[in-house]
């Protein structure tokens, strides 16, 4: 009895009727969209992706840029070994040494 009711309810749920949509509904939506400008909200991911596309470089250029960047990092992180080399902090000392020579 209960099973029969289940089956009947299922059948009814599957055969629910609805009024058909207007045949021109899709076209109406399309026409309305033509009058509406798109909002250009760019997500961070899309922005980064577009940026990469914009700056597309051939592979050797990446290698060169990478080597230069690596060179700069190594150069900046290695302290100068030459004690006679003037440090950036005492520029006055350098000028004074020059004056002595003169």
């Amino acid at each position: 009895m209960n099973d029969n009711r289940d089956v009947r309810l299922e059948r009814m749920l599957r055969s629910r009727q609805e009024e058909a949509a207007s045949p021109d509904l899709a076209e109406r939506i399309i026409l309305r969209a033509r009058k509406i400008p798109q909002r250009q909200s760019i997500s961070l991911w899309r922005f980064l992706r577009d940026l990469c596309v914009e700056f597309h470089l051939p592979k050797p250029a990446y290698v060169l840029a990478g080597a230069l960047a690596l060179g700069m990092v190594v150069g900046l992180s290695t302290p100068s070994e030459d004690p006679s080399a003037p440090s950036g902090n005492d520029a006055q000392g350098v000028f004074a040494a020059d004056e002595d020579l003169l």
Partner: protein, 184 residues
């Protein structure tokens, strides 16, 4: 219509829509309008309002196509079912002035349906009984009994796992069986 549009899948069309292609949008709308109209109708039970909801959903997509995030690998239809369902529920909340539970007597309190009861009346009662269900149960029922949507897709559209969806369906059916006792 440009040849080749029907061969493109939804995701390709959406990528083109994000670049501003009206043709891709037109193809997507033609492809899916009826199925989303059907689900909106199940909620609002009115042709004009269901059409407005579907139009609203598609125009929102056109206006701001970045709402669709293809990189999450969602199926477009599953995601859009959720959009249309939410718009339908919002519409119902705005319209609901009378609590349907009060309006609908339980089957036991009603005279037994005689044989002259027409099928249309039976379906009218079914729709009323469905409308009186809690939102989540009604949404589960509407999505699951919509042709072309698997239970798994319905669960995804609701942001649930399959078991939770089945539990909602079971509760909805139990309530419906009580309320439709005279008609079953």
């Amino acid at each position: 219509m440009a040849t080749g549009w029907p061969d493109r899948d939804d995701h390709e069309l959406l990528e083109l829509i994000q670049k501003g292609s009206h043709e891709a949008f037109a193809e997507l709308v033609r492809r899916h309008t009826n199925r989303f109209y059907r689900i909106a109708y199940r909620f609002v039970q009115n042709k004009e309002n269901a059409e407005d909801i579907v139009q609203d959903a598609f125009l929102k997509l056109w206006e701001d196509p970045a709402r669709w995030r293809g990189e999450l690998r969602n199926k477009f239809t599953t995601w859009f079912y959720r959009v249309v369902t939410n718009l339908s529920l919002d519409w119902l909340k705005r319209q609901r002035t009378v609590e349907l539970d009060e309006e609908l007597p339980l089957a036991d309190e009603r005279p037994t349906a005689d044989e002259s009861m027409t099928q249309a009346e039976t379906y009218k009662h079914l729709e009323k009984a469905i409308a009186a269900l809690p939102d989540r149960q009604r949404t589960a029922l509407n999505l699951c009994f919509d042709e072309g949507l698997t239970n798994q897709e319905a669960a995804e559209a609701m942001g649930l796992n399959l078991k939770a969806l089945q539990s909602l369906i079971m509760r909805a059916k139990t309530t419906l069986k009580k309320r439709m006792r005279s008609y079953l």
